[in-house]
């Protein structure tokens, strides 16, 4: 047993949630320990998730735009521009971001422990190093932020060779001719659209009738249209019976309806599971939920009041942005600090091609909650900046109350959607009227002008 003085705060995991928890603790003048099982700080967000997938997306877009420009500007790209070029850039970005995060942790005086954490009691954590040597540390408060990893479905033999998950797909060394993507969620759609854009023949297979079912249908319809234009195909309402490598050149997918799909590679993106198996949370008096998550209240406090859980280990929305805020708020609560008002309107950004983003109520939710809704639309091809930048495939949708006065939600599909959404988010936070978008001046030409166009569309529909 360790007899040294306890830390004010122990944070387990250094992804977005853990890192922000630790920094909040350190900035509040507390002695903080950060336990990370990997050598680097940053977690899956930096090394397998958000940062690499977005970098790959950006590089793919740039590469395709560059290829398209070869016709306009009469030059030729080298034939050997290949996926390794994209992967090398990805590696550089990931390393740079990891180094920045490591430096930030060090700068804040946070003590790092490299090893796997395991609860000994509700205030004591054992850290087992790579060499198997263990060290025990004690803490007055503990934050669990161990994140998640790709789920491995029992009936799909993921081998990271022919059948990949969202981690191993990031180290592909060549573009396959064809790719089957199992799943219709965020990760599945993001990778499906990236690889389709790169010229891979992509087929998505999922149980839902459309991908990203939680999003406004007009957005997903536009996404599907763009996906199909790049040669992709969404095959919905299907149950997968089996998937296997044929031993020569194809992965064969059998559906329960008898259909068979063949592709060179397969990506399995059927959800993620929380990383709690090494933690022995029972020793701290905690029990996982039936879905393998850690249950918390609105302050991210577990059933043991001085232990908090944040990020992917507590389940949806599993957004890096939310995880960071959960980490900050949990530590503020633990230390008795004011964390400010709870975020009301959390935007959701999906880095598909084209991007999609959403905040507030969708049309149906507005009808259910407010007894009606008026919807205004602006298509990017009607916006000068969309024409200038060649970003004509986009839609901004404003949802207002039945009178067309109050802004209730914003939904955007198109390049720049994840940035553009923040205007709507600020509007929602300040409860603004639709007319504010009409009465005020936006830079011209910008895509933000779409807010004005959509607001005018609502104004036109108001009862005289």
């Amino acid at each position: 047993m360790n007899t040294s003085s306890p830390y004010d705060l122990i944070v387990i995991g250094s992804g977005p949630a853990g890192q922000k928890s630790a920094i909040q603790g350190a900035k509040s003048g507390k002695r903080v320990a950060l336990i990370e099982q990997n050598r680097e700080v940053g977690g899956a967000c930096v090394y397998q998730g958000t940062i690499p997938s977005k970098t790959l997306r950006e590089s793919a877009l740039q590469m395709v735009q560059f290829l398209q420009a070869t016709d306009v500007f009469e030059f030729r790209m080298r034939d050997d521009v290949k996926i390794s070029t994209l992967m090398t850039r990805l590696d550089k970005v990931v390393r740079a971001h990891g180094a920045f995060m490591t430096e930030q942790v060090a700068r804040n005086g946070i003590e790092r422990y490299h090893g796997r954490a395991q609860f000994v009691s509700d205030r004591e954590v054992q850290v087992k190093g790579l060499d198997g040597v263990t060290r025990s540390i004690r803490g007055n408060h503990i934050v669990i932020a161990t994140g998640s990893r790709p789920r491995v479905p029992a009936h799909i033999p993921i081998d990271h060779e022919h059948i990949l998950d969202s981690d191993s797909i990031l180290s592909l060394i060549y573009l396959p001719k064809s790719l089957t993507v199992l799943g219709g969620g965020v990760i599945a759609c993001e990778y499906a659209s990236i690889f389709a854009l790169l010229g891979v023949q992509v087929t998505m297979i999922d149980t839902a009738d459309r991908p990203l079912k939680f999003l406004d249908q007009e957005l997903t319809d536009q996404f599907c249209g763009a996906f199909e234009k790049t040669g992709g195909h969404y095959h919905g309402q299907q149950q997968i019976q089996s998937a296997q490598w044929d031993g020569f050149s194809k992965v064969t997918t059998h559906l329960e309806n008898g259909e068979i799909f063949e592709s060179e590679k397969m990506l399995v993106a059927l959800g993620r599971v929380a990383n709690i198996e090494h933690l022995a949370i029972q020793a701290a008096g905690l029990e996982p939920t039936p879905r393998g998550l850690i249950s918390v209240n609105e302050q991210c406090q577990t059933t043991v009041p001085h232990i908090y859980a944040v990020g992917d280990v507590i389940g949806p929305p599993s957004l890096a942005s939310c995880s960071m805020e959960q980490g900050r708020r949990a530590v503020c609560h633990a230390l008795g600090l004011d964390s400010g008002d709870a975020p009301e309107h959390i935007p959701m950004g999906i880095y598909t091609i084209p991007e999609m983003s959403s905040v507030g109520l969708n049309e149906q939710e507005a009808i259910d909650k407010c007894g009606g809704a008026l919807v205004g639309r602006a298509r990017f091809h009607e916006i000068a900046r969309g024409q200038i930048s060649g970003m004509t495939n986009g839609l901004l949708k404003l949802v207002a109350d039945a009178e067309g006065e109050k802004l209730l939600g914003v939904h955007i599909v198109g390049e720049g959607a994840t940035e553009l959404i923040h205007i709507g988010q600020m509007g929602l936070l300040h409860h603004i009227d639709i007319d504010r978008f009409i009465e005020n001046i936006f830079n011209f030409p910008t895509l933000a002008e779409a807010y004005r166009v959509a607001a005018l569309d609502i104004a036109k529909q108001r009862k005289k």
Partner: protein, 291 residues
């Protein structure tokens, strides 16, 4: 080239041998024929119109000389790949069964037969080690949820310089009845296999990550590698594991677990437990290949 034999001393012989190897490396005139057993199997499978495609794919992925030659030719202007062929699996998918069979056939005919006379056991050991390293590389990559194809290829080809040097020595001997002992040859092979492998990989235009792994796989040297595929560091551990399996005088399990490469890969004791559990399976797969 042949070397005149006028009863020189052992030291002189060694110097002549080294000079010969250095010249050949400088000139880049390196060659690597197929083992007789491999060439026979290729001829058998590629000549059979009803042959199982998986058999041919497996054969190509078990032999470093054949694998290297297939990659070399698949990347040649004659086959015009839409992008560089960087993996055996990619080559198989790109070429298809018929073209692959034809290519394997021409490789087996054109590259000649590796003479193993007098060194059967040692040659078998070289080939077994290469394949075992490839297979361990796969499993290490799998545990990292990292690219398995590249890890395998790097492992399979990491010591491709060893048979190249052996072949060079054997073809340079005028008196085939008086071949050097393995004890004399081994240090020479050990000394020159990395430059020879690197040169061959360069001449054959093998994929960049493979060239890097051949050059930088030894302990601590892998820290110089920059490829995001991590082929060099994975191959380093795979090479140790393969030696551990096929050489009883090599490092024991406890010593292996303390190697810096394990820390550098961020492998925990349970990761190593899982790899050690695969020893028997990999040993069986390798032994089945060279029967």
């Amino acid at each position: 080239m042949t070397i005149a034999s006028t009863a020189p001393t052992e030291q002189e012989e060694n110097a002549v041998l080294r000079a010969h190897i250095t010249t050949q490396l400088e000139q880049g005139t390196l060659d690597l024929p197929l083992l007789p057993v491999v060439a026979n199997q290729v001829l058998q499978v590629s000549g059979d119109p009803n042959a199982d495609a998986t058999k041919l794919a497996a054969l190509i992925q078990q032999d470093q000389a054949l694998a290297g030659q297939i990659l070399r030719i698949a990347n040649s202007p004659a086959y015009l790949p839409r992008s560089p062929i960087v993996s055996l699996q990619q080559a198989i998918a790109w070429l298809g069964m018929n073209m692959l069979a034809g290519l394997a056939f021409s490789v087996s005919v054109q590259s000649g037969i590796f003479s193993t006379k007098g060194y059967e056991k040692e040659v078998r050991h070289l080939w077994s080690h290469a394949l075992a390293t490839g297979l361990f590389g796969k499993e290490i990559a799998r545990r990292m949820r990292h690219n398995v194809e590249n890890a395998f290829l790097c492992g399979l080809l990491h010591t491709i310089g060893k048979p190249v040097i052996l072949h060079l020595v054997l073809t340079s001997q005028t008196n085939q009845e008086n071949l050097p002992t393995w004890t004399d040859l081994e240090p020479v092979i050990q000394e020159y296999h990395i430059p020879a492998g690197s040169k061959l990989a360069e001449v054959w235009k093998l994929p960049d990550p493979v060239q890097e792994a051949i050059r930088l796989y030894p302990d601590q040297v892998y820290l110089q590698a920059t490829s995001p595929t991590k082929g060099a560091i994975i191959t380093c551990l795979a090479d140790h594991l393969a030696s551990h399996v096929f050489d009883s005088s090599y490092l024991d399990e406890e010593t292996l677990r303390a190697l810096p490469v394990i820390q550098d890969l961020n492998f925990y004791p349970d990761d190593m437990d899982a790899l050690f559990e695969l020893r028997e399976g990999i040993q069986q797969s390798v032994e089945a290949f060279l029967v």
